[in-house]
Amino acid sequence: MDDIILDVRDISKIYMQGKIPVNALHDVTFYVKKGEFVSIMGPSGSGKSTLMGIVGCLEKPTAGKVIIDGIEVTSVSDGQLPRIRREKIGFVFQHYNLLNSLTALGNVELAMRFSKVSRQERVERAETLLKKLGLGDRLNHRPTELSGGEQQRVSIARAMANWPAIILADEPTGEVDSKTRDAIVETFKLLKSRGQTIIVVTHDPDVAKHCDRVLRIVDGTVVDSD
């Protein structure tokens, strides 16, 4: 059991929309092993992003437990959460969410600033990562000067920057063409081959087919895992 890196138990999340409760997630239970490449599929509005937010420690569930790398993150104090986010989680967003004011290198390096890595090491690590992801000649480009696929690879490099326990990607190929999608999937597979645990939310069966396992989520709960 000690190769389980993510353990999600009986998670539920109720949002209040005014006075009306919205049951975004209920009774979600699953686990992910170290080094697994897992995809989460489900219709829009089924609660995938909500789940990613909770696993990524961006918000707390209404009930249930999340254990990452042996730490019960759902009972950690708010003051400790930023550290958990830095050390355990790397996020890849659908819209890349790079800071336009910074270069590719700057964006990757930014992820390490909050964890007191020396400047020299930050730049070295960011360069190595970007080169590994095929962006060696794009280091000093701004996001606006990069293609969608390049931007998404920069954001993957950013997610990798602190060597997180888990990479969470919420529809990372949602806005790119099939060629770019394949390049992104290849990037994930490269990371997986180095032992990185990855969870990808996707609508695309061509992404899911590369995964070790698919979790299906419908109406706020996991219906089947294969």
Binding site: N97, G106, L110
Partner: protein, 371 residues
Amino acid sequence: MFDIIIRSATQRKVRSGLTVSGIALGIFALVVMGAMSENFNQTFENSMSLTSDKIRVFAESGMFGGGLTDDKVPDVKRVPGVKDAYGILLTTFDEDQMGMSGKQIFALPPEKSRIALDPVKLKAGRFLEPGDTYQILVGTSIAGEYDLQIGSKLEIHDKNFTVIGILEYTGSFFDSTAAIPLETAQDIYNLEHSLSTIFAVPEEGIDSDILAKRIELNVKGTSTLSPRELQEQASQSLLIFSVITISSALLAAIIGGLSVMNTMLMSVTERTREFGILRAMGAETKDILLITLGEAALLGIIGGLLGIGIGSAAVYLINLWLAGKGIILFAITQRLLVVALLFATVIGTISGLYPAYRATKMSPMEALRYG
């Protein structure tokens, strides 16, 4: 984090520029008003230190009420503890400007001019001497404005005077003072035997406060100001002046601060997602505070430097222009510059507090949900 702060501020050039201008304008006002008040302070302090040893004796009815006459001088001199006493008649130098220039004529017995002006030294020429009539001793500002040399003629109240001495620069009211013999003044102004005030010099080791009271008791119809009382009276009006000028400038600077708050609130609201991303990446609350407060402080500092720069330049130019008229209106002091810059920074930072607080309250889920 500094590069992020700078990038964020420079990304919105126009808005940051306007905000900086707002602060700069406030600080400009602060510098100009402050410089004016500093100048008054300095002149006052210099004047006080130059005349601190004399007790002023007035008519009971006050300095301008008239009634103080020559015959009181021997009475004052007779009071035990008084080393010397002499009468002074003060009139305005520029009658057509009704004294607005601050220049004055100091009419005194010629033989007393050296001790009355002590410790002011001569730049050229000599002090007034017994027997002088239409001779005049001028301060540097007056000499500068009228381009006077020893031997130059100067017209006062339709009479021609010959410059026989020019005083050294003192930074006090002596610079805008011209001294002429008392009898000449009483004559040309038709003020026979009238005096504005009597200067009483205490003997060595005599307490001037006590001596001032003794003069009041011994010489009928007089009131006195000891150097300490004069200082107190003057610093009070000086304080009021400072408060009025500085507080109007502070108001201007606070309005600049409000524009920082407005800019920062807009900037923070626009960057909701950016802060969400930073939080999702593990930024601490203090990192977010640093970025937002840093930007606000930076706007304040740049605005402050700009305001100080423009304000100092303006003050310098006005001083230069007024120097020709023998007036110095502003003094830029180090403490004024330090206070102005500190104030700009503090205003910027304080104005950034609420926007920064708002930024820390933004949910990291923003990064995930909205595209």
